[in-house]
Amino acid sequence: MAGAGGGGCPAGGNDFQWCFSQVKGAVDEDVAEADIISTVEFNYSGDLLATGDKGGRVVIFQREQENKSRPHSRGEYNVYSTFQSHEPEFDYLKSLEIEEKINKIRWLPQQNAAHFLLSTNDKTIKLWKISERDKRAEGYNLKDEDGRLRDPFRITALRVPILKPMDLMVEASPRRIFANAHTYHINSISVNSDHETYLSADDLRINLWHLEITDRSFNIVDIKPANMEELTEVITAAEFHPHQCNVFVYSSSKGTIRLCDMRSSALCDRHSKFFEEPEDPSSRSFFSEIISSISDVKFSHSGRYMMTRDYLSVKVWDLNMENRPVETHQVHEYLRSKLCSLYENDCIFDKFECCWNGSDSAIMTGSYNNFFRMFDRNARRDVTLEASRENSKPRASLKPRKVCTGGKRKKDEISVDSLDFNKKILHTAWHPMENIIAVAATNNLYIFQDKIN
């Protein structure tokens, strides 16, 4: 499997063989702005898959139970619940409209029959409870079957209501609303491993919340300069460590990552560790800073590593080594010579996300032309795949794609200038335990599964 970034050998052994499983969303060419998917997230078990869109809606898919007669065909994801999480708001004080677009969704670990998730737009975070109702009480004394109140004087006998089964109903209700704590746009939320607190980060500040308390939050990072004229750097992403509840990281627009320990002080403006790779002088350009800006940071499941995504690459860092990453994977190096055009059309500011697989042996991130890239860290192989309706036959294997960077274009290759920069894959998610991936391509959600086992 050869990718644009490096060589490879034919598939075999432990290699993934990705097959199309499902695609969700409208087929029309005309994409409604509100339907554009803005976040994708599996829950802790992988049975639920949530998406948020620009219209402020959340759609949750649930994996069907496996069919015993066809053990090789895994459960499909079908719509479980749909609800309007955020509405457009108007800030009267500043005369500003607040977008309803869902920036991030994060699930809480499941503690009872109900499911909880946090969803956020630019300003407000909400805790949603998604619960099932499959029983209904019948035989009330004070009201009729259709709900009308009965006249108490007409009641001559008392009965005990009984529970009867009903069609499954999935209800989503907002349990907490965490508002008015962010002056700037929220870019990240992250649930702590203590399952009691979470952080929210905007361009200049990071706040710590308790899930039960909505009327106050603690500010733990503040990089706003006293004089805004001196502003040269913003926070781009933040995440809690998966196991150490006192540790979190945040990335910046200058390509740096700071690791902070909340035990050291209340305000974590001084970092415990500072991760930055020195700039390569040979590739310096006017756009060096923009392309070094980190758009996503994710800890590995093990907690030993973290991964950062900048415009052209994905880097894996060992938390014990601050001066350079342990791995650098090129996502679409062929764009380096096009940076000027990409600056002109603003594509250079696109924020791509990245994700780990359950065992931390592979990482995935998106690119343009509905391509996405997967890097096998152990085998040191990478592959470019495409999410498109043309490759959407059930259980059809995905063919690796290749971008031609110059000279004669081979058959089945696509030249850099033919790439569609409107078709960007910014959001991807990997099932926490199995080889199932969800890829958001504008308004469509693609689900791919690994053929093996």
């Binding site: 005369s95 746009h185 004229e229 800073e289 000027c340 200038d417």
Partner: protein
């Protein structure tokens, strides 16, 4: 050219490995070898200034986008004329608070006024050569002299305009409707507080005001008291 939404047809003979717009970055390109390096940088400079304008015009600018564009502008500016340095122009106190408001509170009214101001400035001089009278400025995109070390988003434009006018940016405000300055955020340092109309002539023409009235007047001027109909004769 790679622009948003345009899918180029597959062309087998496509030789260009660079986008059309990036020709100036290709050292092998004949135009680049002949043209002075400032030409390429100045086009990028203009593009960046346009982006900055556009960003500042938003009611709530995307801070990340703004900061990245400003930093890129600084890089370009620094590379264009590294040897020439401008004497630091006196920054009117108004400018930092404007920037602060823009970036912090996104006051829509202020943004609108600053946006129109930026528009006027760009028509005036193309944001290039600094110490030059308005009359003979060259075409837009002329390389800018070295910038003073710390620059805010608007400071990039501030020193240049400051040099155009003797009294700095405030001169530009003279013929602008000043009712927008009556809000608390916009107190220009040089003007001080405006005394009430009836107080002025009376103050001068009535030297025998008693102390209580003077105290009252001082309180009104300092703003600790709301204006009431003052007691006493002659008003």
């Amino acid at each position: 050219m790679l622009s948003k939404g345009l899918k180029r047809k597959r062309e087998e003979e496509e030789e260009e490995t660079l986008g059309v717009d990036a020709w100036w970055l290709d050292p092998g390109h004949p135009a680049v070898t002949q043209a002075p390096p400032t030409v390429a940088s100045s086009s990028l400079f203009d593009l960046s200034v346009l982006k900055l304008h556009h960003s500042l015009r938003q009611s709530e600018p995307d801070l990340r986008h703004l900061v990245l564009v400003v930093n890129t502008l600084r890089r370009i500016q620094a590379s264009m004329a590294p040897t020439v340095t401008l004497p630091p122009a006196p920054s009117p106190p108004v400018v930092p608070s404007v920037t602060d408001n823009l970036l912090a509170s996104s006051d829509a009214m202020l943004s609108a006024s600053m946006a129109s101001l930026l528009e006027d400035l760009s028509h005036i001089e193309g944001l290039s050569q600094a110490p030059q009278p308005l009359a003979d400025e060259g075409p837009p995109g002329r390389p800018v002299g070295g910038a003073p070390p710390s620059l805010g988003a608007l400071d990039l434009l501030g020193p240049a305009t400051g040099c155009l006018l003797d009294d700095g940016l405030e001169g530009l405000f003279e013929d602008i409707d000043t009712s927008m300055y009556d809000s608390e955020l916009w107190v220009p340092a040089s003007e001080g507080l405006k005394p009430g109309p009836e107080d002025g002539p009376d103050k001068e023409g009535a030297p025998d005001l008693d102390e209580a009235e003077l105290d009252y007047l001082m309180d009104v001027l300092v703003g600790t008291q709301a204006l009431e109909r003052p007691p006493g004769p002659g008003r």
